[in-house]
Amino acid sequence: MSLLEVRSVSKHFRGLRAVHDASLDVPHGEIYGLIGPNGAGKTTTFNMIAGVYAPDSGEILFGSAPIHGLRADQVCAAGIGRTFQIVKPFAGLSVLDNVMVGAFLRERQARAARELSVRILERLGLGAKRELPASSLTLPDRKRLEVARALATRPKLLLLDEVMAGLRPTECDQMIAVFRELNRADGTTILLIEHVMRAVMALARHICVLHHGEVIARGTPEQVVRNPAVLECYLGEETEV
């Protein structure tokens, strides 16, 4: 059964066709990868799911309820947590307070929100840095903070927008371990956009490839990397597999 169903959505920005007739199915409990070259429409698809803007046509179902056209905060309340490709920490707040903002969605009392946030920070290896201002964190830590904040809203589906970009291979492996653990222990479904093939191959059970706003391939990682259309448009140019 699908947790998230994107049914032939399209989005145009003036003359630019960002996404055209794209569909994807993310099953319950899965880690699903969305890949494609720069400008393929990955982040646009993401933003339509997250409620940043509504699709021009098509529909998006989450747990079989339509969510296209909902505002970002309503999508989050429905159970979808997201990170931003360009990290957006609340720079003036401490690391812990950043995560507490997310935790308040399900926990009305500050004490309960704090306890939940501390647990999440420990899990992401930020426990020792929780009193620091978010502005003092390094990029890898900021990426972790993005994830921690999204997790604090207790999502059923976690949308990760290039959280591995800019991380060193060892840092990347740590993140991969965290997501595997989240997926296995909590049953959190994950949809990730990723440029770093190492991460996608290691995590995703299914992959969907976008090119010029259209889905050109779907399948397991092994199937996708052998697909001629994918090789031509994407892996043909970048051979870091």
């Binding site: 997250a50 940043v52 505002r71 970002a72 905060d73 989050c76 309340a77 997201r82 931003f84 957006k88 920490p89 609340f90 720079a91 003036g92 707040l93 307070d97 507490m100 903002v101 997310g102 308040f104 969605l105 009305r108 500050a110 929100a113 904040r149 999204a150 604090a152 809203t153």
Partner: protein, 325 residues
């Protein structure tokens, strides 16, 4: 170590409260009126800080709420003899309604930043012009509340000696401080700060930014309305040109800006520093025999300039760091 750190603000507040409660027993009426003025600006600054300091919404028209609050309670008293305790509710209701209208217009149609500030100025300005042409409240000639004898405490009508006004303002300031401290530690405070820091990220965490910003405006307007009621019964005369003027709005924000926007102690410290400075400069200039018109304003401006240049986040944050708060 951690325990001590958590207790420092409590010691500080207890000490400050004790000094302020005891103050009237040691100083004369003049000093008491200065102290009342400081508390008045500390209170209004705290109210403004809820909107700007916490939620990041810059209002340059807070005189609107002071004026509407003052005129609402003042007119009820002037025409119907209804005391300020009832007038207070009308003042709050009107100001909250006005704030919600402004907030709705701005937040619904995506007016933010300086454009939002301009909208708040516009509302204060056309309310001023409106009152200038509104005969019922006296128009430009003003409205004058009956001044009763000043030696007995008439709490029902809020008439009494300067001491009564001082304690009333002290009570309000303490209440505003407690309210803000509580708000800042609650869900509302966290949500406001998230919106202030990055509204898009805040929305992505399930925050209905529109609703929470309106709440900040409503609370700020309600608090400022109470200051307006105090103003009416303390000064007993109301002129649109004075009460709604943009310089009144600026006066309200100077305290928290100098003290530290978004902090709890900033508005208190800023109000004290600015009011004492203003008086101190007058006294110093008189003592030096420098009685040139405008010199006081020049010195005042210079000091503000220095604070803004050397302490861009206000006076309080470096003190807080020194005290390890």
């Amino acid at each position: 170590m951690n325990r001590n750190r958590a207790l420092t603000p409590i010691y500080l507040l207890t000490g400050l409260a004790a000094i302020l409660v005891a103050l009237p027993f040691f100083v004369g009426n003049y000093a008491l009126s200065v102290a009342t003025l400081i508390l008045y600006f500390a209170y209004t600054g705290q109210a403004w800080n809820v909107m700007m300091g916490f939620a990041g919404q810059l209002s340059l028209g807070h005189a609107l709420y002071v004026g509407v609050g003052a005129y609402a309670a003042g007119a009820l008293f002037f025409y119907y003899g209804i005391g300020p305790w009832a007038g207070l509710w009308l003042a709050i209701a009107l100001c909250v309604a006005l704030g919600l209208v402004i907030g709705f217009l701005a937040f619904r149609f995506g007016i933010s930043g300086v454009y939002f500030a301009l909208l708040t100025i516009a509302f204060a300005e056309f309310t001023r012009i409106g009152f200038d042409h509104f005969g019922w409240t006296g128009g430009p000639g003003g409205m004058f509340l009956r001044v009763a004898q000043r030696d007995t405490w008439d709490l029902a009508n809020f008439r009494g000696p300067p001491l009564m006004y001082y304690y009333a303002m002290l009570f309000l300031t303490a209440g505003a401080f407690a309210l803000c401290a509580w708000l800042l530690r609650s869900r509302a405070g966290y949500y406001w700060q998230a919106i202030r820091e990055d509204e898009e990220a805040a929305r992505a965490l399930g925050i209905n930014a529109f609703r929470w910003k309106l709440l900040a405006v409503a609370i700020s307007a309600a608090m400022t309305a109470v200051a307006g009621v105090f103003f009416a019964f303390y000064y007993n005369n109301l002129f649109p040109e004075q009460i709604f003027h943009i310089s009144r709005s600026i006066e309200i924000i100077l305290g928290p800006v100098i003290g530290g926007v978004g902090t709890l102690f900033g508005p208190l410290l800023g109000a004290a520093v600015l009011t004492l400075l203003s008086d101190g400069i007058s006294d110093a200039l008189n003592a030096l025999g420098l009685d040139i018109p405008g010199v006081k304003q020049v010195f005042y401006g210079l000091v503000l300039l220095c604070v803004v240049m050397f302490l861009p986040h206000g006076i309080w944050p470096p003190i807080a760091r020194r005290l390890r708060l």
